[in-house]
């Protein structure tokens, strides 16, 4: 007998809004968080825009002694974790949560300090210039470790790295562990802070980023015929998962029940999605099976929708393969049109967006969708939010390395 698992806390630090209220207002009003890069001087870079988290002060969320020892990716994660824990009204001394876990997704870990160390070494031509604190700052599990240390959470502690699906993958893993009774509660989600001099240059070199340089807010245009790549973003999305019975017993807010998790690997290519969409369709089928639902039960799909030529066509095909004739009836939108691609955080921030949609009866739009692509022919909720009561939402996340992860959430 497996346990029913619910979402009881939401914490989000996104380029267009911090905290569930601001973020909800932003995504339902179509607010873009994309602008020119400010974290370093992008003058020499072929790409000059990104979705940065603005006016974020880590000191608002953690002691100075933690702030100074952590990379930006961990700071964003600590902030989102604090927001989620506060939102869930969690008492971490509660006996119910003695066996709690922290399971976080991150595609890249701590780039800021890694790059700083490299630059210091090469500028001085002296390997002894490496700061001693680099390794503990850049380790991907610095984020889960610091969350554990801040809140005294002593159960399973993991960081999962499956590129762009890391956040959703982490939530799926936490979901599995709670329903099997392995853990009593999880602080889970995804984080990323990739807007750093070297990492940004590397993404630009890969030719996956939009080259838009005049109107940053129009650069991310998933499913639009003129789309030319994604916008690199940063942020964190953390949620609290716990069994339904503990949530009810302590009178916690319940945003949604996590119903299904589908995950597979297309074993196709490290960067390019399989254009047939068959592997992603299979992940969708796995999630539907896991949730014990039919195609027609899905009321909304939060798409991976990166705004690259390859993803958006392959994802459209995957949805059509999995849902057949019903595909065109399901509203499907991409909030990456507003927050760019936050890599390891994306799947978690999007799962949070699904929770907000289920609770507010609104579907966030795909902004910048003005020219139809004949190969992208679903209902993408263009440009304006839609008011519609939805019961069940699906969130797609597809990562480099053909990693496909699908989550299904239901309003309770």
């Amino acid at each position: 007998m497996t346990k029913r698992v619910v979402v009881t806390g939401l914490g989000v630090v996104a380029p267009n809004g911090t905290g569930k209220r601001d973020f909800a207002n932003a995504i339902f009003s179509g607010k873009s968080g994309v602008d020119f890069v400010t974290r370093f001087d992008p003058a020499k870079y072929p790409v000059k825009i990104a979705a940065e988290v603005k006016s974020f002060d880590p000191v608002d969320y953690m002691p100075i002694a933690v702030m100074r020892k952590t990379d930006r990716f961990a700071q964003l994660g600590l902030a989102a974790a604090k927001l989620a824990i506060d939102d869930a009204k969690l008492d971490l001394g509660d006996k119910r949560f003695e066996n709690a876990a922290v399971i976080i997704g991150s595609g890249l870990g701590g780039n800021n300090f890694h790059e700083e160390a490299m630059i210091r070494i090469f500028k001085n031509d002296d390997p002894r210039k490496a700061p001693a604190s680099t390794v503990p700052r850049v380790s991907p599990n610095a984020v889960s470790a610091y969350i554990a240390m801040q809140y005294g959470i002593k159960g399973i502690n993991q960081v999962i790295s499956t590129a762009c699906s890391s956040g959703a993958q982490a939530i799926g893993e936490a979901f599995n562990k709670i329903r099997c009774g392995l853990i009593d509660m999880a602080v889970t989600g995804g984080v990323e802070a990739p807007i750093t001099e070297i990492t940004f240059a590397c993404y630009a070199a890969l030719m996956v980023l939009s080259s838009e340089c005049r109107e940053p807010q129009k650069a991310s245009r998933p499913f639009d015929l003129t789309r030319d790549g994604f916008v690199l973003g940063e942020g964190a999305g953390i949620m609290i998962l716990e069994p339904l019975e503990s949530a009810r017993a302590r009178g916690a807010p319940i945003y949604a029940e996590l119903l299904g998790f589908g995950s597979n690997c297309g074993a196709y290519h490290m960067v390019t999605p399989n254009p047939s969409g068959e592997d992603a369709a299979q992940a969708i089928r796995l999630a539907l099976q896991d949730a014990n639902l039919q195609s027609s039960d899905i009321d909304y799909i939060n798409a991976h929708g990166t705004s690259t030529r390859g993803n958006d066509v392959a994802e459209t095909r995957a949805i059509k393969l999995a849902f057949n004739s019903y595909a065109k009836k399901i509203p499907t939108s991409s909030i990456k049109s507003m927050i760019g691609h936050t890599i390891g955080a994306a799947g978690a921030i999007e799962a949070i967006a699904c929770c907000l949609s289920l609770n507010e009866g609104k579907i966030p739009p795909t902004i910048n969708l003005n020219t139809a692509d004949p190969e992208c022919d679903l209902d993408y909720v263009p440009n304006e939010a839609r008011k519609v009561s939805i019961e069940v939402a699906m969130s797609n996340s597809f990562g480099f390395g053909s990693n496909n992860t699908v989550l299904i959430l239901r309003r309770l």
Binding site: V59, A132, S133
Partner: protein, 95 residues
């Protein structure tokens, strides 16, 4: 030409600015909670530096004062004043 000799007070001020910079003490929003760095401030108990940060502080001191502190000996110095005297001792032995 040899560098002019730094006074004990000047070394203290330099070390203080190095610590403020490295330990980000001025980032504390509440001025009342902002640590005051004086001669007898204890780096571990009062400024909360851990074993890894000690290594970073040591590297920064090495760079700023052009000395080669011995890690074990440096580790036995706990207060700002003790470190200032250690820096003076090393600068003298270098001369």
């Amino acid at each position: 030409m040899a560098e002019p000799e730094l006074s004990r007070e000047a070394i203290f001020e330099e070390l203080k600015s190095l610590l403020v910079d490295l330990l980000k003490t001025m980032r504390e929003k509440d001025p009342e909670k902002r640590p005051v760095i004086s001669w007898d401030t204890d780096l571990v108990d009062e400024l909360g530096i851990d074993s890894v940060e000690t290594l970073d502080v040591l590297n920064a001191i090495e760079d700023r004062f052009d000395i080669n502190p011995d890690i074990h000996e440096a580790n036995s110095k706990r207060t700002v004043g003790e470190i200032v005297d250690y820096i003076i001792e090393l600068k003298k032995s270098k001369r």
